[in-house]
Amino acid sequence: MSPELIIAIIVTVVGASTPILIAALGELVVERSGVLNLGVEGMMLVGAITAFVVVFLTGNHYLAILLAAAAGLGTSLIFGFLTLSLSANQTATGLALTIFGTGFSALAGQGYSARPVTLLGPLFPSELATHPIWRVLFGYSALVYFALIMVVAIWWFLKKTRAGLILRAVGENDLSAHSIGYSVIGVRYLAVMFGGAMAGIAGACFPLLLTPQWAERMTAGRGWIAVALVVFASWRPFRLLAGAYLFGLVMTMELYAKAGGGPLSVVPSELWAALPYLATVAVLVLISIRRDASTNAPACLGKPFLPSN
């Protein structure tokens, strides 16, 4: 393999990983607060169609990202209201949110398919990225750097700040947090909204970063992979980064296999397409064999908070 090809692969891997990483970071914060939102895929689709329509109408990529975040946040409020205010079943509500996001985005995107938009260009001026090596560092769009900054920011927030400590306390022992005087429901609302905004931005990555068009269900289960990655990373941001790039690598291999030629095309392209999902299962198995994965899970994950009982 030539150095150019290796660099091209690295750049593709980083791009493919970014939406999964952003969505998974949001879900990590949500789960650390003790809430399991399985609606990531639906919120991503709402973000994706919002970003597409905005960039199609205005051509402004950053406005598109901002409004995609707002749309994701708005969608997450449905989940928040049902599960936090009405203490509905989180699993069922999350599934309903994904069904809703899939239907809503398809409805809103009617008539927008096969219309091209432009991708979000690199953040740094192209002079910085003339040499291939520099491309690996400076050749990406703002979304890629945003994802990396958020890894550090969320790690710092959870580990070093008082607010992060409160969030973890709410996820580990909601009754104690409540008796000290913290608003369990309030903290969880904020976490769910943050997760929604991140899922919206993750959805925006699809039309702005990967394929410059709208297609129904274009997130293709990546939201679910993000949920799985949070478990894989045992709720730690830096492990999430490693996991997301690993999955980006698997997905990039599919692209190269489909493009034909080379040793990858010996295997049917459908197997490559199925690989990220099979790899998720394999990874879940591996972490379970290595140690009890659930030991690091927030103790209150998925349980509704009912102080009056």
């Binding site: 509905a88 069922a92 509500t93 239907g103 409805l107 799985a228 459908e270 199925a274």
Partner: protein, 359 residues
Amino acid sequence: MQFRLEKRREPSKVMVYATPVAAVVLTMVVGAIIFSLIGYDGVGAVREIFLTPLTNSFKWQDLGVKAAPLIIIGVGLSISYRANVWNIGAEGQYIIGGLAATWVALATHGMTGWWILPTMFVAGMLGGAAYASIPALLKTRLNVNEILTSLMLTYASVQLIYYLVRAPWKDPMGMGFPQTRIFSEAARLPTLIPGTIVHLGVPIAIVVALIAWFIMSRSVFGYRMRVVGAAPHAARYGGFSENKTIWLALLVSGGLAGMAGMLEVAGPFQRMVPGFPTNYGFTAIIVAFLGRLNPLGVIFAGIVMAITFVGGEVAQTTIGLSSSATGVFQAMMLFFLLAGDILIRYRIKRVVPAAEVRA
């Protein structure tokens, strides 16, 4: 005026049955308003989606054919969810069931005999159950979350269809289309009423639901599933093994999803095509909840869901509404249902502020 939630002494029986009905009605009302607000013919959409399939007798056969797989899969899921086992990969088990039945149909191509359809039926159920046994094995042995594994396997199974119809199972006379050859007469489900599309799967769905209702309410198996789901600690004291329950829940729900897959491929499809996954497995999740995880309720919920599917197609042709609007209506129904669940455990009380009392 302010309202407050007050806990009921015991769960309300009335609300258990009233909330699904209220959810459907609210979906129609709120749906009409929202769709009008965003620039569609809201009232027309609700009329076409919810009422036309009922008033137009030509659509009744479509209702039966669409409801059958939803009921069969929904019954399985309701049993599984009762036991707190979250199989959300029914779509994948439906696909593998359909593929297993296709394999039998292709292997017996050109043959005749009464035994072909029953063999396909068994193959479909075994295929679905086998696929569901992967999450069951991983859950019981390694405590791997069954939600994620069953769902990931669904995405993988879609690729398996694509591969099989593109290469080994491709119809040699199909002019390059990625699909299998059409099944022989002996491998196709007979239609029950001549001149309609109503096939054997429709009565089978009703029978499946009735048997499941009987088993769930009258047998030790049903008792086990309900107790493990509602009170896992008590179940452990009572000697019900949690692992055995997980296995049973996944095998039953997977087997029924596989049965639905067989009935679909041998009935409406009559061959395997890339478009075989039609989201019945996902919609059946809503059906199970709307039916209150009760097999008899699932019959009604399956029919309601079938109405929205058939109505969605009607609305597409009559008022040009995208078929994806159906998904929005279905999700809204589930939202309202989940929101209404709180009324089973709580009642709404009006709070009179102190100032108002004095005045």
